[in-house]
Structures are given as C-alpha cells and as structure tokens.
Amino acid sequence: MNRIDLASPVGVAIALLPEILLTGWALIVLLVVSWRHRTAQDSRLAGWLSLVGLLFSGAALAALWVGGASPDGLPQMVALDPFRYGAAAIALLAAAGTVLISLGYLEREGLIAPEYYPLVLLATAGMMFLAGAEDLIVLFLGLEVMSVAVYVLAGFDRTDPFSSEAALKYFLIGAFASGFLLYGIALVYGAAGTTNLSIIGAQLSGRPIPMMAALGLGLLLIGMGFKISAVPFHMWAPDVYDGSPTPVSGLMATGVKAAAFAALVRVLMEAFPSAVGLWQPVVAALAIASMTVGNLTALAQRSLKRMLAYSSIAHAGYMLVAVWAGTHAGAGAVLLYLLAYGLTTLAAFGLLTALGRGGERDVTYDDIAGLAGARPAIALGLAVCMLSLLGFPGTLGFIGKWYILSAVVAEGQMILPVLLVLTSVLSAGYYLPVIMSMYMRPSPGADRHAAVGLSPTAAGAIAASVVAVVLLGLWPSGLLEVAGASARTLTQTALPLAGP
C-alpha cells in the first residue's frame, strides 16, 4: 500500500496523474491539429494521437491501481480507491472504442475536423474526474468538463439539422440539470458545512437528517437523474442519441453514463449513508419508472438507433436497482453492469455505423432484413450484442443482471428483482426482432447490403468487444472478484470524524 499525501501538490499530481496526462495530451493534440486540420490524413493522425493519449492515461491508471495507492490522512478532493479506477477504466475503454469507430466514420461522413478527437479526450478526462470526485465541487467540475465537450460532439455534424438539434437540446437540458445539481450542492453545504463527501457522511450520521440536507439530496438526485437519463428526466435522451453522430451516441450511452453512475453511487454511499431511508424509495421509484417506460417505449420504435436510445433508459433502470441496494454488492453490480453494458452498447452503436449513412437515423428493422446472408460477421456481432443486452446466459449482460439480482435479493427485496426480470422479458420484444430480421427474413434486394462495411479499426474494436462480452460471460470469475473488491473499498475512506 503506497500512501499518498493528498495535501501536498506532488501527492495530488500523482493521484490525478491519469487525468492530468489525458488533459495535457488533449491540449497537445489540439495544438497539432491547429496546423493539420484539412485532409482526411490529418484527421486520422489526430485519432491515432488520441489513442496514444488514452494509452498513457490508462497506464497511469493501472499504475495507481496495481500500486494500491491510498490516501494518507484525511480524505481530500479526489478518491484513491479501486472503485474510481474501475469506473475510470470503463470511461477510457469507452473513449478508445469511440475513437477507433470514429476513425473510419468521420471520413465516410465527410466530417473532417480533427478537433473531434481532443474533444473526446477532454470529455473522457471529465468523466474520470466525475468518477473519482470525493468532493461535490470536483464532481461538478468533472460533470461540466465532460458535458461541455459532449455538447460540442453531439452537434459535430454541422450540416445535419438533427445533429444541431441534438446539441442544443442536450445543452439546454444539461444546463438545466447543472442548475439543480449546483443548488443541491449549495444546500448540502449549508447543512453539513463542507462539500467533502466523507465528511458530509460523518456530519450527517447519528442524527435526524436536516431538512436542508434532504432538499439538497433531492436536488442532487434530480441533477444526476438527468445525466443518467432516468425516467422522468429522460425526455432529452432519445432525440439526442438519435441526432448525434453515431459514435458520439455510443460514447454518451457508455462513458457518460458510466461516469455519472459512479458519481451517483459514491455520493449516495459516502455522503448519505445515514439518509438511506430517504433516498432508497426515490431510487426505487426512478428504477421502476425507467425500466417500465424505457422498455415499453423501446418496443414501439422502428429505427434501431432510437430503439437503442430507449433501451439505454431501461438499462439505467436496471442499474438503479443495484444502486438501490446501497451496499458494496450493489456498487460492485453497478460497476460490472456498466462494463457489460458499455462493451455491448459500444459494439452495437459501432455496428450501427456499418449499416447506414448520414447519421443512421433511418436504419429500421426492415433495412437489416437478410443481413446475415450478405454480411455474416456483422450480423453475428449484432446478434451477440442483442443477446447480451437482453441478459441472455453465455454473455456478460447475463452476469451483470445476475449480479444485480443477487445484490438486491441479499437485501431482502423481492419486488424490484421481479420487476427487473419482467421488464427484461419486454425487452425481448425489441431485441429479438433485430436477430429475426437479420437471420429469418429475406433480403429485399440482391445488393441491398452491398454498401455495408466497417473500417478495419472499427471492426477490430467491435470484434474485441464482442469476444470479450462472450468470454467474460462464460468465465466471469476474475471480473466478479475485481468488481466486488473495488466496491468494497468504496467507504473505507469514510473516517469517523468529529460527530455533531
């Protein structure tokens, strides 16, 4: 165990090394593209450079993780625990996948503007701050860094009105959500006299929750609810996912969601363990609403991209069920599910880029009829993704759901698990038709799928994800241990500070 003194500048620099490296590298890439931003080759260069940055950051993260760094003394602004590393690793993976998918995509869509990649890096840095925030202020900063970058990415296809609509919608709703969050932070600060999560937890324990803190908690939940697109704060999600360039939709559904969930879990478990009676019913209600509404509306979609958007709301509902547990097992389940969902969804969005043109908004179930005959590999990949999203045994999605069920059942709760599986059955009604269309319906024309294809980098990233989804689904043992161990460290930093 390497203890790091978070009060000293050197300590902070070490603790934040992954984020610092990533941000610095993003600025370097930005510098490079200010000279080279005209040709497709420039765009590719920026993409590969960004991958290198992600690699550096990942190496720093791994060093911290393997080195077992832990804070010396009082908890400070940033967490030093495997839960942060796990969530940050998911964000890095999502970013790397997004970059690999984007390499060919941007060229194909004629979006030659290499600023795209530094923005992805900055968004990722924001996600990592968000996932590691041990202080509400850092949390807010991380959220904003991430969001501002993603607003721009959402509207990256400037010629497409839908992309601009997505950006505007995301920005307005995001600003609105930030308002809630900030006001919540202010109220919590008023009640606890601090913005540090562990100290808030210590201040609020052992006495009835003050009204001001309860209000603050409620506003925080609303603000976070927007970011994880839980019903009833989900209205923006379908249009934004739909209008954004598809790799960006993938990043939003995986990285952004992962970071926001990690922050939510940390806030609830570190700052408000004593208010568990207050937030559990709210989280349960959000979970039930998200699972039901998300799955029911996804059933009604014709476009695959919109279907994935609505189903991401349903998956947020499943994860909220795990958040509800408020235990280490629950946090571990969130982490594992984020990885399962992230890998699968990124691959699904990536495969979607192969199917269409101009944002893939209009790829419907009918358009993929007979795909299995023309493009067996793409069809197989998409089929595995659908089964994993459905939570079918043999895939990582199943292990994720199983973990959530175990975590919640261990708390003696029966209604949430039953609702979770029943709404999962609903989801079969829209995931299976994808498989059905590809494998069981005849192709509308002989060369209908002639244009379907992936760039080699995208194909590699997607293939790796799909293989990982299956292999980890069959041999989840190691992953389960990592997720469980990461979650167990979550509240170890919560020192019993001065009581009331």
């Binding site: 175990s406 059955v425 069981m440």
Partner: protein, 519 residues
Amino acid sequence: MTAFLDSIGYGQWILHALVVLPLLGVVPVLLGPEASAKRTALLVTSLELILSLGLWWALDPGRGTLQLVSNTPWIPGWGISYRVGIDGISLVMVLLTTLLMPISVLGSWRYITRQERGFYALMLALLTGLVGVFIALDLFVFYIFFEIMLIPMYFIIGIWGGPNRLYAAIKFFIYTMAGSLLMLVAIVVLVWRVQAVTGYLSFSYDHLLTNAGAVGPLAPWLFAAFAVAFAIKVPIFPFHTWLPDAHVEAPTAGSVLLAAVMLKIGTYGFLRFAVPFFPQVALSPTVSRIVVVLAVIGIVYGALVAMVQPDIKKLVAYSSVSHLGFVMLGIWGGTVQSVQGSLMIMISHGISTGALFLLIGMIYERRHTREIADYGGIARVVPVFSLIFTVVVLSSIGLPGLNGFVGEFLVLLGSFSAYPLATVIATTGVIFAAAYLLWALQRMIYNRLDKPENERLSDLNGRELALMTPLLIGIVWLGLYPEPVLRRMEPATRRYLQLTQPGAAAPVAAAGPTIEVRP
C-alpha cells in the same frame, strides 16, 4: 459390460464428453462443405448415441441416488460449480435425447435444403443444451442450459420453419423466457436464504435440496416461480398456447425435438427441482388440487381440440397437451406406480410423437400438404408408410402391447387412490385419443383413394425405413417388456417419493445421502 466400462474409466468422463462432443462437432459442420454438413452431423450424433448407451450399464440400477457425479469449480466466488450427475430418471431422458437426435438428423436429410451448415450446427448445439439440462446438478448450470437451448430452437423454427415461422419463433422464445426469468429470481432467493441459514454459499443441487426448508414463508412464492417456468415448458393448460404454433411451424426435426425432449424438461423440472425443493407447498391440498384440475383440463381440452384440427401436425401438437396432462397427473398421484407411469409416458410420448412428426414430415415432403382432407386411401399407394403410421398411431392411443399403454395405465392405476374423480375424467382422455387419432388415420390412410395427386406418392425409402426402425423397436419393446426400464427408474422414483413425502415409499428409504461422489 460394466467391467469393460470401468476399465476405460467410462464413468469419469462420459458426462463431460456428452456435453462437449456436439459442441466440437459444430466446428467441422460449419467449416466443412455445405453438402457434407448432414453427414458430419449424423456421424457426431451417432457417436454421441453410442457413447451414451454405456450409461445404461454404468448406472447402478439398485440405487436411487445421483451417480457419476463430478464437480468442477466454475465461479467459486459465488459458489457455482460445473456439477453434473445422473440417476435413473436422468438416464432415460438422456438416452431418449441421444436416440432421437441422429434420427432427427436423418429425418431432416431431404427436408432441409438451404443453409444446411447452419441448421446442423444448431442441431448439435441444441443437443448439448438438452443433454446438459438433464445432467446439471448446479442450479446456475441448470439455468444456463435451460435458457441456452432456446437459441438454437429459436433459429431452427425461425429460419427453416413454415409460413408463420417468425410469429411462432418469437412466441416460443418469449413464453419460455418469461417463465425462466422468474425462476432465475427464485433461484437467487433460494440460494441467498439457504446461505443466510447455513452460512455456505452454493448453487449445488444437493446442498439446496437438504436446506431448502430455510426459505420459510417464501416457499409458496418460490415454488410458484419454479412451477410457472416448468408449466410453460410442459405445457400445462393454460400456458400451452405457444405449443401448437411452435410445433406446427417448426421443421420436422424441430417438432420432433420439441415434442419428444423439450416438453419433458418441464416435467423433469417438476420431478427434479420444483417438487423436491418445496414438497410442503407442492403437495399441499390446495396446490395439488390446482395442478390436478389443470392437468385434467389439459387432458380433455387437448384431446377435444385435437379432434377438430384439419391439419395433422396441429392434431399431433394438441395431442401432446393431452398426453403431458397425464404426466402431471401421475407426478401428483404420489405413488410409485403413478410416478413411474409418468416417466414411462415421458419416454413413450417422446418415441411415439417423435415418430408421428417424422412420418408427417415424410408425407409432407412428398405431397406438400398437411391437411387431412387432402389425403385419403393412401394405404394402397404407400403400404409400408401406412403400416408404420398405423402402428405408431396405435401406440400413441395406448393400445395394450405397445408402449403408450404402459405409462397411461400406470398413471391411472397409481393416481386413482388419491384422485378418483380426476382419474375417471382423465380416462376419457384415452377414449378421446382413440377417437381423434383413429378418425384421422381413417381419413388419411384408409377410406377411398379419391385424390389423383395421391396416386403417385412413393413409398418410404431405405433411409426413412432405417430411421423409423429404432423407434418401432422401442414402441414394441417398451410395450411388451418395459421391465428393464422400469427397474432402472424405480429406485430414483422411490428416492423422489421419499424426499417429497417421507414415509410413503418404504423400501429404499434408509439409504444415505442423495448424491454419491465417486472417489
């Protein structure tokens, strides 16, 4: 024979081999040329059958315990192991599966004309799932096998099925999945409760069986979850509506395996899991009454609906609802005879209905219609087909001397003491069965040869005769001399009864633990 099997260590590897071999077979089927896919599949499934036959001797028929048990840790953190083993009940189900699989492959020889590689690869994957489900002794593993075999069957129906195949495939999938997901929650709850009491986290069957009492007041809910999953699979009225669609739309091999093996997973689930875990709930007067009433409704309703079907395949599909009603009645009959009878019906329904679907497939390949009214008097044109069809129909009716009779007789005999009224009503099911099957037989095979299209039908060829022969042998053998099969199932049956109603089944009662691990 036993000595020979011991000398090659048969018991050590056979259960693993039966699961792995078909999966290995998938590779050459997919990579080989399209034309040789069916030959490879036939080779693999035949090899599987030959390998599995040794189980008949490897299992000690004198004991009702689970034998050949092996345990490989899989996800130790969650107490999950790859744990397999068999007893007399699993034995006959595994043998039924491995017997019907090469026959189904042969039955698809000419029926499947496109995407053959995919079809036979899925058949092999299905074989793994089916064998796995009957030998799994860890609830996690059982659940995985239970679910995973949906995929191959979903594709088999959806790609190679009839005109309405998409609807049938998704209905089949969603029905089964809805039930099994509830069972998943029940499994998690059961394991968690047992862990709370014993302090030991494990999904192993015997551990949960011994300590299932720990669930306390949750037992009715958990039983309900298990029961719904299995009831959909059986299917018990009113959960049966997926069955006619799936059976009719599926290609011949799909129908055969659905009817002959997959339905039995439901009844097997009741015998292996649902009832032994929660006997106080399952055999309580209220639940018993509900199950028996639904079983009897299934028997009579299935028979009556079968009677009015114009489509012979649909007629056979509905007759399954009726036959499986007998199985449920026998399980709840609660005597050695009735449970043995249920098991006998499970086997003989597998053989007879499998044979019927194969025969229907054969005649469909020639005439491309399944409407009963399109046939008539074909006995003169295809005498061999007609003879075999008649024998199979008679066995399905339950003619004494053929296999169908033994099981139904035992069920009715064994259930009469517990449920006299229900048994009497169920007996009408036998009469109805005679009515609908003989009537269909008369309209198709006998009567006058009045359709010119039927005059040019060709009779069965060598392949078709070869694949029917083992089934016919089974039909006659089980009808005349079922004793060896009954003897192998009896200890397991007594064990089951002893678990569910202590004191009822005396003889084997004193014999140690449920599972024996081989040294």
